[in-house]
Symmetry: C2
Subunit: 520 residues, 2 copies
């Protein structure tokens, strides 16, 4: 059996049955072997950044990684930004990068590059099999490496001649490292702190923000009155339907400092101590005040959900149904009148369907959405984990493939949409139930804010022009239609509500371009 076929069979046996791909000549045997393994689904993407971002979104929803297939070093480069996001979100990805045949690499031909070096930044695990027979065991190890905690990008470099070579044989799955159990002493120590009566908060990240963790922290908060804070951009947050909801730490350091200032204790659970996104002149990057002690309950390689259950038990909480239980939030009314970011938020809050998955890359315009959807039925929220824009549309694409039957709502700023707009084509091709909302405010609005915050000279005309997306105006309705996605433009709240309802009621993808004024 060819190495490529042994690779695909091993991936499937290890639970990886989806491959987002943008292949080239060196990956043709992988492509040719797809028909031999019906269990593997190949999803063609028009750009590598779509493939890597889709793999990220897929794994967040499926719990198992997808694979991606990229073409040599430049293909990996094109996919790097969304692999960065996956790395920062601790999301497992099996990243397969084709390389030239081993005999060809000495000639420094046009597409020769040092793939390991490019991969190192995003990959905790890199392997280059040395023979056809070594491919399948490396693939099984890659899946295990990706799924071990913290979830990570595992890169398998696949030389073309080993891929086309004979003598491959599928390898059995390799078990991923199990989560580490934390010891009882640490639980007791944290319990003591939380029961001390001093102002304290749990700072929650990663896997704590799913149902089991949220139920546990709600019990703890009910018994002790501690605050529940969540990291600013969680990879996956379960919300709505009466689930308890932590307050997310603000993106703007000034506001985050206000949130942290009253605390004397901050207990980290699958999260790092908060720092600002960027540095600013005259401001500290580290956001925890000197008067607050930081404690670790459980980290990225620990069984954080078991740790929270143990902590709740140690504190001796009830069922969480009394003190501190979240109030039932009302859904907003349907908005009317001018279309603004607030009106979009109200429309989402009033219409978001049960089981929706929100891929959130709405930047400045999206700040009203979390509050407006707090009373919505149960849904999942996916954030921009690593700050590299161009994640939202691909993540929505991958999430829709992982969770058929759930409506995906892709909230996108105009500027960041243009990084990986090619994702729309894959949504059309695969018939995915994705509703994309573009906030078209015709500027890099967040950068106008940042320009002021970094203490720059008041921007002159040239500076302002570098943050401006007018001239020409981007027309997302045309862009979407160009890739086969039906699209409409909304200029009033009533139009937006109508278009959103229609999109939620029809199968397949559609796009709504919401013309909104910049907030800033």
């Amino acid at each position: 059996m060819r190495g490529a076929e042994a690779l695909i069979r091993t991936l499937v046996a290890s639970g990886v049955d989806t491959c987002f791909m943008n292949p080239g000549t060196s990956e043709m045997h992988f492509v040719a072997s797809l028909d031999a393994v019906p269990e593997m689904r190949g999803v063609l993407c028009l750009f590598e950044g779509v493939a890597t971002g889709a793999a990220d979104g897929y794994a967040r929803m499926a719990g198992t990684p997808a694979s991606v297939l990229l073409h040599l070093g430049p293909g990996l480069g094109n996919g790097l930004a969304n692999l960065h996001n996956a790395r920062k979100g601790a999301v497992p990805v099996v990243n397969i990068v084709g390389d030239h045949a081993t005999t060809h690499q000495q000639y420094d031909s046009q597409l020769q590059s040092d793939i390991e070096t490019v991969a190192r930044n995003v990959s905790a695990w890199i392997s280059r099999p040395a023979s056809t027979a070594a491919i399948a065991p490396a693939a099984a190890a890659a899946v295990a490496a990706a799924m071990g905690l913290p979830g990570q990008v595992a890169t398998l470099i696949l030389p073309a001649d080993l891929s086309w070579g004979a003598g491959g044989e599928p390898a059995p799955p390799v078990a991923a490292t199990a989560p580490r159990l934390i010891d009882a002493d640490r639980v007791d120590e944290v319990a003591r702190i939380l029961c001390s009566g001093e102002p304290a908060a749990l700072f929650l990240g990663g896997r704590t923000l799913r149902e089991r963790g949220l139920r546990a922290v709600a019990r703890i908060a009910a018994a002790t009155g501690v605050q529940l804070l969540a990291e600013t951009f969680p990879a996956r947050l379960e919300r709505g339907g009466g689930l308890p909801e932590p307050t997310r730490l603000a993106y703007l350091a000034e506001f985050a400092e206000l949130q942290l200032q009253p605390l004397r204790h901050l207990v980290l659970v699958d999260a790092k101590a908060p720092v600002s996104f960027f540095a600013y002149p005259g401001r500290a990057s580290y956001l925890v005040p000197d008067t607050c002690s930081v404690h670790d309950l459980a980290g990225a390689v620990d069984d954080v959900e078991a740790a929270l259950d143990a902590l709740a038990d140690a504190i001796g909480t009830g069922d969480g149904s009394t003190r501190g239980a979240p109030a039932v939030t009302a859904r907003p009314d349907r908005p009317t009148g001018a279309l603004t970011a607030q009106a979009v938020a109200a429309a989402l809050g009033s219409l978001l369907p049960e089981g929706a998955i929100v891929s959130d890359e709405a930047q400045t315009s999206g700040i009203f959405n979390p509050a407006a959807t707090a009373g919505s039925p149960r849904h999942t929220w996916l954030c921009l984990t690593g700050g590299a824009i161009g994640q939202g549309l691909p993540v929505a694409t991958g999430a829709a493939i992982a969770a058929p039957g759930r409506r995906v709502v892709s909230l996108q700023a105009d500027g960041s949409a243009m990084y990986t707009i090619q994702a729309l084509w894959t949504q059309a091709r695969e018939g995915l139930d994705v509703t994309t909302v573009i906030y078209n405010n015709r500027s890099y609005s967040i950068l106008n804010m940042e320009l002021q915050r970094v203490g720059g000279e008041p921007g002159g005309a040239k500076a302002a022009s570098m943050l401006d997306l007018h001239h020409p105006d981007l027309d997302f309705v045309s862009l979407a239609r160009g890739m086969g996605v039906p699209a409409t433009r909304a200029q009033t709240a009533e139009q937006f509500v109508h278009q959103l309802e229609r999109s939620f009621s029809e199968p397949g993808p559609s796009l709504i371009e919401a013309i909104v004024p910049p907030l800033l």
Copy 2:
């Protein structure tokens, strides 16, 4: 003066007065300083791959590098594929990558990454200034490094706090290393070989393919009868208007071997010995037959044009006007009837205006273009140097900015167009005279060919679907309009001729979607 302003002033003093940019928060002081230095032109791109490709196209035409401004490691990742192409084409680029403030890097915040590692693959020169005062000298050194032979990507990593810090001062230009003169013995040795009467060819690359080099090799060929071969994908080739034209080595190794088989001597001039683009089962990568000796006249760091002049003088040629002078090629008639790749070529050949610049990423559909335009007025041809697709539209954009008044013709395959389609917006914004022709054959046609060539199993339905761009059909007219570029669709040869004439006669960008059947 802020470090950022000192940096911009130094670039301008060193001859770099254009910056293609996609900035973020960490680059805001660079942006804010643009207004203080009117000589620096900032060109906003919606995606980093557009910025780096535009810098490549700019430098090929201007002879001096442009700068690019990228946002941290992920921004560099997005720009990496076209920096790879610039590196392979020995094109100078001053690559400025913003980084977090030095004080911020310890916190591993969301956008933290190891920029040096990502840059290493494409940059022969990397510097990270350690103080505000060190920025300007590093910038002057970066320009010199980029322009030294072979032209290369010089990466300057710019921490935000050094950029916003005070105490910067512009630095004077640094001279680039001068080309090395080759010694007379080598010239005499090559002259003796070429005059031996044995079958020989000059294999020409890099800077030999401009007017001075072409005039010299024409004299040599006229005197000795040697063949003139050019590398397959030159960075810049001057053509037409009666200029002598070498035969380009075929992309397909089978054909290249036929071209090389009769030779006993191959003399390299700013070129490497030919190897195949990819490896194929059972085929050698190195294409020069055992019966042919390879000789080096002058390489990438040598004064190759002086070497060719000296060689012509040593051979004692006349003025090249007699034996071996290129025949005057007739321009083709305007095509009629069905629109095919051949008809597109004929239309280009009949209409290409004097001084046109062709950015060629037409892949399989473009194979008829060189022959059809051999009789056109004088023009410049820019190729895909490094094989990383998504270069053509950005290179066209940068070339148009470097050479106002010349019509740029951007020949694009449908598949590769979708990698950096965002370039169209910058063309509209800057009002560039670019005519984009999309060959829409609705497939990765070249990969269908490669699938067969690598000896894959006859592709099944799944494999075929990974190379197919139907379902949905890409509609490039809508895509172009979405970015403010007027666009039309041509389905007959007459329509194409009419639309091409109109585009050449009107200022600003336009796009023609040519619906052509796949060749393969």
